[in-house]
């Protein structure tokens, strides 16, 4: 075997090594991208149940309110400690303003396509309305108003979160197909 032939064979070996390495690198990049997209899809699938979980928590709190919060001290005890509670009318006005603002915010976020994790904070606000009515001794008269407000706000929020997640998940699935086919990151 001549010296020149040996050099050519070495060069071919080096080139094929480089090609194999770059193919391995591209394959690794593809796998990483796909894994990242899969993680994101999984996160979004978990996130899409957030509204329903918040609704379930609200229903549990509503049930406790229906039973008159048996584990809480009597309203008289709390009012003796904290002072006179606001009147039922003031609480109702606050509930109305809150419901209106929450719905407008939710619809605005829906139209802007913003990912916002607000459902559980709404459960907190609604629970505090139940508590205010309870300590103001007017829960029985206003129970259905808070319940209706909760179902409406959390229903719209659940729909907003679910529709946002559905859209992003279908986009991610398209991205996964693109990455599998080309091995390159998605265009954006």
């Amino acid at each position: 075997m001549r010296f020149g032939d040996g050099m050519t064979a070495l060069r071919e070996q080096q080139v094929s090594d480089v090609i194999r390495e770059s193919e391995d690198g591209a394959d690794r990049l593809r796998q990483e991208l796909i894994a990242e997209i899969n993680r994101e899809i999984l996160r979004l699938q978990r996130f899409s149940t957030r509204g329903v979980l918040a609704m379930a928590l609200f229903l549990v709190i509503s049930l406790l309110a229906w039973w008159g919060f048996p584990f809480l001290p009597a309203p008289e005890t709390a009012t003796a400690l904290l002072g006179k509670p606001p009147s039922a009318r003031i609480i109702s006005i606050a509930l109305l303003v809150y419901t209106f603002s929450a719905l407008i915010l939710s619809l605005a976020r829906m139209s802007a396509g913003v990912e916002h994790r607000s459902s559980f904070s709404h459960v907190g606000f609604l629970a505090s309305f139940f508590l205010f009515y309870y300590f103001g001794r007017s829960l029985q008269e206003n129970y259905w108003a808070v319940f209706g407000a909760g179902i409406t706000i959390l229903g719209v929020e659940s729909y907003r979160i679910w529709s946002f997640c559905s859209e992003v998940i279908s986009k991610k699935q398209e991205d996964r197909v693109y990455v599998t086919r080309t091995g390159r990151p998605p265009l954006e």
Binding site: A88, R89, F100, L107, A145, T152, S163
Partner: protein
């Protein structure tokens, strides 16, 4: 349903409008019910005051017959469930129902406990605290007012039957009024609110649906039919007329792109033939 354009456009709006209207109606109903209850209490308190003032002279004169007649006549009035006067010891001395006279009342009973829950009875109560609501033995809703009969200076100094000056309350007047009219008004109000809400909702959601269908969904359907039919036929049809401006631009661009592609194709075929 949720995946379609109509579903995406109508579900959140329908849910938000319906829910908000229901919440508004519930709060409004609660406020009106509260107002009606207050005015009912004020009416019952005024009636109790009127009875006390009407019987005052008879009490001064210790005219038991006139007093009993007044109480009986008031008790016969339509909408009055019961009228009775208790003495200091808690026994009924006058009543529209003769069977109740001389009957002792339990101080722990509803309406009495408000003043008698402590070792010393409360002498002054607010108007709302004097009222109580309950169901009578016939199962009808009743609102009752317990008005104290105070020992005024002319009572303690009267020649006929002097009460000691230290005695603050001489007895109580208990008057109960039927809530049938109040309940009827509330059920009418409830019915009117349900009908009004249902009509408003139908109008709002129906209006939004009709406008969206007329201005968005039908033109979109025509555009979709045009795109689908143009891909099946050999000859490219003209874009559908009278589309909204935005959709018209899309249809025109699509038509132009298809025309350019057809010209390009014809040119390539000619070149291949040469």
């Amino acid at each position: 349903m949720f995946a379609t354009l109509a579903g995406k456009a109508l579900v959140p709006v329908g849910l938000a409008v319906t829910g908000f209207m229901v919440v508004c109606c519930l709060i409004l109903y609660s406020v009106i019910r509260d107002d009606l209850h207050r005015s009912e209490v004020v009416h019952a308190t005024n009636l109790a005051d009127t009875i006390l003032k009407s019987t005052r002279y008879a009490m001064h004169k210790s005219d038991r017959e006139t007093l009993a007649t007044i109480i009986r006549n008031v008790g016969e009035q339509k909408g009055v469930d019961h009228v009775r006067i208790f003495n200091k010891k808690g026994s009924v001395t006058f009543s529209a129902n003769p069977g109740e006279i001389n009957r002792q009342v339990d101080k722990n009973a509803e309406g009495c406990i408000v003043c008698h829950k402590g070792p010393v009875p409360v002498n002054n109560l607010g108007t709302m605290q004097q009222a109580r609501t309950f169901k009578n033995p016939e199962g009808l809703d009743v609102i009752a007012i317990t008005a104290p009969i105070y020992n005024d200076p002319d009572c303690s100094s009267a020649a006929c039957h002097v009460h000691s000056q230290s005695q603050k309350v001489l007895g109580t007047l208990d008057i109960g009024l039927s809530r049938a009219e109040h309940d009827r008004s509330l059920s009418m109000l409830r019915l009117q609110m349900i009908v009004f809400s249902a009509m408003s909702l139908l109008l709002t959601i129906g209006g939004v649906t009709a406008l969206l269908r007329r201005n968005v969904f039908l033109p979109l359907q025509r555009l979709r039919n045009y795109v689908e039919s143009s891909s099946q036929k050999n000859k490219l049809p003209e874009p559908p007329p009278r589309l909204p401006h935005d959709l018209d631009i899309i249809a025109a661009r699509y038509y132009q792109a298809k025309m350019d592609a057809a010209v390009q194709k014809q040119y390539s075929e000619k070149m291949d033939a040469l």
